[in-house]
Structure formats: C-alpha cells, structure tokens
C-alpha cells in the first residue's frame, strides 16, 4: 500500500527539474509583475496595457535583431522602445487620468493596449515571428545537478531577470529618485509640500514600469515566439502574481512571481491540465484569507 503510493510519485530528479523550471518561469513573471505593481503602487493606475507593452518589447527586440543580428542590441531596443513609448503614453494620456476614477484609468489603458496590439498585427500580421536563440544560449545543460538537460538560454534568463530586478531594486531603494517615489506612494501630498515635484518622479516610474514589461517580452522572445496576442496571457499572470504578493509591493511581486512559477510547474507533475487552474485557486485562497497579499499593506486592494 505505502510502496504503491511511493511508486506513483514522480521521480525526485524530475521534481528537482520542475522546481528549477519554476524558478525560471517565476523570475520572468517577477520581472513583468514588478512593472505592473510599481505603477499601481506609485501612480494608483492599473495599467491594463501592460500585456501589450510586453508584446511591444518582444517586437521591438525582434526588429532590432533582424536589422543587426545582435541579441544584446535586441534587448536594448526592447528596453528603450518600451521606455520611450512609456514616456509618450504617460505625457500624452495617462497624466490626465491620475485624478479620474479607477474605471476610467482601466478603460483608457485597455484601449491603449488594443491600439498597440492591433498596430503590431496590422504591420507584422498574425503569424508568430521567429526570434532565434542567441549563440551564447544554444544547447542545453544539466548544471551538474539536474538529471535532465535544461535549455541553456532558459538558465541564462534567470540571471538576466535577476540582474534587471536588482537594478530596479537599487533605483527604488538606493537613489534619491527612489526615495521620492516611495515617499510619494505613502503620501504624495506631503512630498509635494516639501517642494518636490512628485509627478515628475512618477513620470519616470511609469516609463520604468513599461520597460519592465518590454524587457520581459524581449528576453522571452526566443522561448515564446512573438505574436500580437502573446502579452495577453502574461497580463493575466502578472495580475495573479501582484495579488499573491500584495498590490504595490516590490518584494511581493518577486516572491509572488516565484510562488506562481512553482505552483504551475509542480502541479504539472501530478495533473498537467490543472497547472494553470491551480494558479487561480491560489489567488482565490489569498483573496479570501489574506486580501492584502503576502507583502501588501492593508487597505490597498
């Protein structure tokens, strides 16, 4: 009886591999979700165009790669492209919506998302684009401890995401800009009274949030071929991650992303068809028992 149960369990090597895989997926989700959460946390804007910005980053990177053949430049283009678009969107549209109701903000960003995605579709068509794995990411490795080969590029994305997240952390927690932003989250009125233009800081935050999505898009492009609708799923996932980790919390997005990654990969060991469903179950449980999320502050849901 007991041995039957033990035999029905997946082999430990596979569990290890899936845990590692969960780390990779989780880091990417963390990267996307930090963008969403810092924009919401600072500006109070729920940016529904976040998924479209992911797609935009992927395509910007793809175009740069086509033109130059350099993956490093592709990442640069993905980051810069979404950063610039983020600035334009904030100056052109979003800033008029800071004082408007949440519904208006959601609708305007929803519309922006549609415009971005359909522009991409009109220009590139609906077929997915072929972004090859960069030369330094070819092949698979077992890293000395895994029992199954794991794509080298996926391993590298863990490091890439970690570096970018670290930079975001340093900017938010170790610079004057970050100080203003964090103070602004707490009480923007008080910061303004101190003679600091808090909205100028916010304008940078929106662009950085957009850039996080764009970077994730271009980093993920060799794994998931860019399509116009590619960002939709990541928008949904990042909502879940932000709810898990706590709305507006930077560490929450990272921990939430990792938990989401592990939930999906470990569930697939037992019931592959439920791996995404379990993510939403986890979100529902969090909303019932700890509505503010793991790292969120009460009253900010």
């Amino acid at each position: 009886m007991f041995t039957d149960f033990i035999n029905s369990l997946p082999p430990w090597g596979l569990v290890e591999a899936q845990m590692f895989n969960g780390l990779q997926q989780g880091m990417l989700l963390a990267l996307i979700s930090t963008g969403l959460t810092i924009v919401y946390g600072t500006l109070g804007v729920l940016n529904v165009a976040h998924g479209a910005l992911y797609t935009l980053g992927a395509y910007a990177g793809f175009v740069a790669y086509q033109a130059t053949g350099s993956f490093v430049l592709a990442i640069g283009a993905g980051a810069l492209g979404t950063l610039v678009i983020g600035l334009v969107i904030e100056r052109g549209i979003i800033r008029y919506y800071y004082k408007r109701p949440d519904e208006d903000q959601i609708i305007v960003t929803f519309g922006l998302g549609i415009i971005i995605v359909e522009s991409i579709r009109a220009f590139f068509g609906g077929t997915s684009q072929n972004m090859p794995t960069p030369g330094w990411g070819q092949g698979a490795s077992q890293l000395g401890f895994l029992q199954y080969p794991f794509p080298l590029y996926k391993i590298e994305t863990i490091a890439l995401s970690a570096i970018i997240l670290l930079i975001f952390y340093l900017v938010l927690y170790r610079t004057r800009l970050g100080l203003v932003v964090r103070a602004g989250i707490e009480d923007s009125g008080m910061v303004s009274l101190l003679g600091i233009n808090v909205f100028r800081a916010f304008f940078v935050v929106f662009a950085i949030g957009a850039m996080a999505a764009g970077l994730a898009g271009v980093i993920n492009a060799p794994i998931t071929a860019p399509t116009p609708d590619g960002g939709e799923k990541f928008l949904v996932f990042s909502f879940v991650v932000v709810v898990l980790g706590g709305v507006g919390s930077f560490p929450g997005a990272i921990v939430g992303g990792l938990i989401a990654g592990e939930i999906m990969t470990l569930t697939s060991l037992f019931y592959p068809s439920l791996s995404e469903v379990m993510l939403y179950v986890a979100m529902a449980l969090i909303l019932i028992f700890r509505p503010r999320g793991l790292f969120g502050q009460a009253g900010r849901v």
């Binding site: 591999a17 068509g125 072929n130 698979a140 029992q147 990969t265 592959p272």
Partner: protein
C-alpha cells in the same frame, strides 16, 4: 462550457421573440415587394428562408478568427472565403468547375458577407453568428479554426435552421457525437488523420514504441489523442505520458520536462496554431527532438514557415491540403495560382477548406434550385461526386462529413527546397474511403430538417 450553453439558451428564447417579429416584418416586406416569389413552390419559410434571399443579394456570416492562438490560420481562411465569394460573384471558371450549374452568385443572387473575429472562443462566435442570423438574415454561416467554436456554431445552426459550414476542425465530435443536420465539415479530423498516418508510422518509425503526448485541453485535443492511441495500439505503441495544456499556452516547459522524463521514443504533438509553434521550438531547446521522433497528426498551416525547415525536416504530418498537390490536380493548380496572385502567398489548408466549402454550398443550392435549407441539405446528402482541388470528393449523408483523399507530407531538408515555400514532400494520398470511420462508430445522430 456550461456558461456557453446557458448563453445559447437565453439567446434562443430572446431569438424566439425576435423571430416572430422579424418574420412578420420580413414576410410583409417580401410579399409586398415580390408578391409571387414568397408563395412559390419552394416551400414554407425555414430559418432565414425566404427573408434572407428576398433581395437580389444574400448574406453569409463568417467566423474566422483574427486574434488568439489560431489567428494566422483564421486570417488565411478568411482570404479563402473572400476568393470564393469573389469567384462566385464573377462566375470564375475555377468555382464553376466545382459547381457546374453556377453562373453568377448563387442562384443568381450576389453574395455579401460579414466576418466576426471569434478569437477561437465559442461565446464570441455565438454572439457574432446570432447577430448575423438575426440582423443580417444570413442564409448560411461558416468558418472557424477551433473545434469548440465549430461545435457551438453547429448547435446554433440547428436551432436557427441556418446551415453552418465548419472551417478547420479536428475533433471527431464535429461530425460525430455533436454532429447536426445543419452542420457540414470538409476537412480531415482526428480519426481520419490517425488512420491515414498509421501505415507511415509503422513503416518509418516501427512497432512497439512508447509515446509522449502533448495535447491541447479541449475537444479537439482529446479526440485526436483518443484516435491516435486507438490506432497506434495496433502497432504496439503505448502512451508513456499524456500532457494536457490549455489552449493558448505560451511556455510549455513544465509539460516538456515531464515528456522528456517519460522515457518515450516518439513525441506526438497535437498542438495547433501558435501553440504548435511554441511547443515545437521549446521541445527542440529541451533536446526532446534529438531523443524522440516527432509526429504531428494534425498539421498547423504555416508551421514550417514559423519554426523553420531545419526543425521540420523529416517530420511526418497529416494535412488537408498542401500546395504541391497542384502537380497532380489542375484545379489545385488554378486555385494556388489565383490565390497567390491575389494575396501574395500560397494558400494553406484554411484557405482551401474555406474555398471548397463555399463552392460546395453553391453547388448544393444550384442543384436544389432553392436556398431553402431543407432542400439544400438533401442536395448535399445525395452524395454527388464532385471534382475539386482535392480530387474527387463526396459528402456522406449519415454524418455530413466530406470524404476526400488525405495527404501525408514530410518536411524537406533545407538544401532540397526548390523555392521558399517548398517545405514538404507529398508522401502519399490515402484514399478517403479507406480512412473514414464506419457510419455509426462516432455516435452521430443528425437532428431534424425543420
């Protein structure tokens, strides 16, 4: 699904209300404008007949997706419908080869159409099709890439008594357990594809293999898996693992890791559209394609273009149409060249299915001599053999499934490609009659005519 059913139910009761009103209106209008026509020997009103053909044009409602994981296939399909409608309206030779009695339009009526982007979601499809049927008085509806959409549209068609023609639909249930009197399918599906593939698998891959399945988690994936398992059992194949993934998955790594760990020799990938592209590219990165032989029982149009010939070389796939069939068939040649001239690329399966279904509908109407759906359906059910770009075909009366030869193709080496579109060798054309299921095997019970 339960939500969708509920939605259909409420829409029908609302439809019931609308229907009586619109019928009365349409009837009034029609009788006042064309006094003789409505009372002609064509028969009693049925569905949108005669309201939908009261003018000198008729309206056709299409549901080709332009967003979602099957958007590329849906866009190709829409182009196929557009070409067929253009050809019918102008009396082009190609369409008249399939429908010899056609002159211009269908029964002299110019064809107009509308398309709704279903995003492969049944609820969006039902909303759009209901609007076409109620507001535009569509005389026929057609198109879809997802079987879930096709089945939902068929059910709507049966209730509304407006014929629906499926586009690409691989589920056995479309003309099996969920078949409808008002639904027709032209393309291959799980059963026929698996049966056609069996001899190739036996000869090229061998007996007694362990298989890792990657399966989209809805009716299409389930029934293709069932058919593959059933047939490959005969050559001693067994499933090592079955990985079900939701439609629209972007990262398949957790499923692929499980497949890699399963110790399988063969990787049967049932994913379609963008899902197929992503899963194949990722399987390559996980080293699965080096260790296992990949088989694609239901080939995604544009796949070779999207993943590249390096990955597709040597891989066996079943499809409905591949453009090099033009070497054996003049109608296919004409279709490929006219389509390419208009759209700038060679048509794929979606465009072929659309064109064929449209031309066959025109043929059935011309033979019936009326748009009245009961007579049109009976014309289809007569099972007349037609010459098409797929060769000789005929519709089965008992389940409304078209019987045609099934092409099996194999990915070419990049060095052997003669042109940019020359991705596959046509390995064989399996006679359609040999691969069809016995008439009552899949549990089809067609509904009533009226």
């Amino acid at each position: 699904m339960s939500d969708n059913k509920k939605w259909i139910d409420t829409s029908i009761s609302r439809r019931g209300l609308l229907k009586s009103g619109s019928m009365a209106m349409g009837g009034l209008l029609a009788t006042s404008m064309f006094p003789g026509r409505v009372l002609a020997a064509d028969g009693s009103p049925l569905g949108n007949y005669p309201a939908g053909v009261a003018k000198d044009s008729c309206f056709i409602g299409l549901g080709c997706e332009s967003t979602g994981p099957y958007s590329a296939q849906g866009t190709d399909m829409l182009k196929g419908f557009q070409l067929a409608i253009e050809h019918l309206n102008s009396g082009n030779e190609l369409v008249r080869a399939i429908s010899p009695d056609s002159k211009k339009g269908i029964l002299g009526k110019r064809i107009e159409y509308g398309n709704v982007d279903t995003a492969s979601k049944p609820d969006l499809a039902i909303q759009g099709m209901t609007r076409f049927i109620n507001q535009d008085k569509a005389i026929m509806t057609a198109g879809s890439v997802s079987s879930a959409v096709a089945i939902a549209c068929e059910k709507l068609a049966q209730r509304e008594k407006v014929i629906y023609l499926a586009g690409i639909s691989g589920s056995n249930e479309t003309t099996g357990a969920d078949c409808q009197r008002y639904g027709f399918r032209s393309c291959i599906f799980g059963y026929t594809a698996s049966k056609a593939l069996l001899p190739v698998l036996r000869d090229e891959i061998g007996k007694d293999k362990k298989v890792a399945y990657l399966i989209p988690d809805y009716t299409y994936g389930h029934t293709v898996r069932d058919s593959m398992k059933e047939f490959t059992q005969q050559i001693g194949w067994s499933a090592a693992t079955e990985q079900l993934s939701p439609l629209g998955t972007s990262d398949f790594s957790s499923y692929l890791l499980n497949a890699a760990a399963s110790g399988a020799d063969v990787f049967v990938n049932i994913c379609f559209g963008a899902d197929a592209v992503n899963s194949i590219k990722q399987a390559k990165n996980f080293g699965i394609l080096d260790k296992m032989t990949m088989v694609i029982p239901y080939m995604t149009p544009f796949l070779a273009k999207e993943v590249g010939p390096e990955i597709m070389q040597g891989i066996y796939c079943v499809t409905d149409f591949w453009w090099t069939m033009e070497e054996k068939n003049d109608l296919a040649k004409s279709f490929v060249s006219q389509f390419e001239k208009k759209n700038g690329y060679k048509p794929e399966w979606g465009a072929e299915a659309a064109y064929l279904q449209m031309a066959m509908y025109a043929e059935a109407c011309e033979r019936a001599g009326t748009f009245r759906p009961e007579e049109v359906i009976k014309a289809y059910e007569a099972g007349k053999q037609l010459d098409t770009m797929l060769g000789k075909v005929h519709m089965r009366a008992n389940d409304h499934q078209l019987v045609h030869d099934v092409p099996i193709i194999r990915g070419k080496k990049p060095s052997e490609m003669r042109s940019d579109d020359d991705y596959f060798d046509l390995v064989s054309l399996t006679p359609g009659d040999d691969v069809m299921p016995p008439p009552d095997l899949l549990g089809c019970k067609l509904g009533s005519y009226t």
